[in-house]
Amino acid sequence: MVETQDANALTAYNIQDKDPIVKYREIKKAFGDTEVLKGIDFDLYPGERVAIIGPSGSGKTTMARLLMTLEKPTSGTIEVDGRYLWHKEVKGQLVPADEKHLHEVRGDIGMVFQHFNLFPHMTILKNCTEAPVKALGLSKKEAEERAKEMLDKVGMLEKAKDYPASLSGGQQQRVAIARALVMRPKVMLFDEPTSALDPETVGEVLQVIKDIAKQGDMAMMLITHEMSFAHEVADRICFFDEGIIQEQGPPSQVFTQPKTERLQEFLKRFHMNGSS
């Protein structure tokens, strides 16, 4: 019970007696000689919204990419809803996971990319139905109903028949969000969703993410440089620097009373130095 109390102190979210849906344990990741993650322990609770902030190159994006199975950890384990992600249990031993196992576990995870990564050769609607039909085995009709519902939610339904190239960056990102939502993941990763956007379209995308955050019971991991957005949406702020979590806590605490010098320095750049 001690652990739960600690966890409750870190977040504004009401964890109650829930078990974490995602658990990182001693996760390390190196690219060649460069170690980008130096031992991460991190829990995410169902429905909780965590914003991950920190300077570029601090390992934030890698943290999300490991969970999406886009990169493989050098050591350590990740659990998703009680199952190991990168390992399989065979006779009580942990062995590296194969593609089949990854396919089973990562169905709980969804991701929105910095550069949208829409499929340019498919219409907006097809972008949102291809995976539900292929990966979830939905009928075309079911998939289209779900897709239209989500496109409506992000305000892109009237563009359903268009191709991605005819949309603005902000519109493309809204479609990418709808595409990820159609899969109904339990955990959604946002990897700097507004960094590649023109300033005038940032707002519409942030608004869509806020709306989703309000209604869903979906856990969210938001990697972002938009501090006021993080403050408003997140239950917990996680500050990354030099490959480790330097400091975390509820936004009210992290933004107003940063404990570490590094975080204080970092927030100054955004004119959020605690005193204001």
Binding site: M68, T69, L70, E99, H103, R106, G107, I109, G110, M111, F113, H115, N117, L118, F119, P120, H121, T123, E130, A131, K134, A135, L136, Y163, A165, S166, R179, A180, M183
Partner: protein, 218 residues
């Protein structure tokens, strides 16, 4: 000028040879297209030995000259106790050669698709085969088409080489005529024009395909 009765002798022979040339073009075109995909996918295989062996074969075929290969199949192979008809040797030689070049087209086009496309496919939990079929290949195919068009023109020109290796194609027929009726200028001009007509048709076909495969997109 070439007289009417000479045309009446030459044209049927030219058409007869043209049928052989067209057959070679179609058969070897299809075979080298298939081999391009087999070779291209092997070069990108996750299994290292498959990559090495396919790379070795492709570089070997590309490194030894096509005409030398045709001569080898027609004149040297029988001495090893393997007798294949010259026409079959021509098909094998041309298909292997242009298939090897085509493998590089397939490989480089697939590699040209941005990594983010694969990652989006993974994030949507599609299997590797689903990702290849519905995300990567449709995009890569559009990149391949113009190169395949050029490859088919190269193949068409390559078919003329079989005339030197005992296959009676359009070129061989005309060179035969040269020996009997003369009129070098007219015969060879006619032959060049015949090739240009076929080649231009191939070019138009591929332009049409490119338009077809880019329909509806910006």
């Amino acid at each position: 000028m070439i007289s009417i009765d000479v045309y009446s002798i030459v044209l049927p022979l030219l058409l007869e040879g043209a049928m052989v040339t067209l057959q070679l073009l179609v058969i070897c075109g299809i075979l080298s297209f298939l081999m391009s995909f087999i070779g291209g996918f092997s070069r990108l295989s996750g299994i290292a030995p498959v990559r090495w062996v396919s790379g070795l074969i492709i570089e070997f075929i590309r490194g030894t000259s096509l005409l030398v290969q045709l001569f080898w199949l027609v004149f040297a192979l029988p001495l090893l106790g393997v007798n294949i008809a010259p026409g079959l040797a021509a098909i094998i030689g041309l298909s292997l050669n242009y298939g090897a070049y085509g493998s590089e087209i397939v490989r480089s086009s697939i590699q040209a698709i941005p990594k983010g496309q694969t990652e989006a496919g993974i994030a949507l939990n599609m299997t590797p085969i689903q990702r290849m079929r519905s995300i990567i290949l449709p995009q890569a195919f559009r990149i391949m088409l113009p190169s395949f068009g050029n490859l088919m023109i190269e193949l068409l020109k390559g078919t003329a080489l079989v005339s030197l290796a005992l296959t009676s194609d359009m070129t061989e027929k005309m060179m035969q005529m040269r020996n009997t009726v003369g009129h070098d200028t007219q015969l060879l001009s006619l032959l060049l024009i015949a090739y240009f007509i076929v080649g231009y048709a191939v070019t138009l076909l591929f332009r049409w395909l490119e338009r077809k495969f880019s329909a509806g997109r910006v």
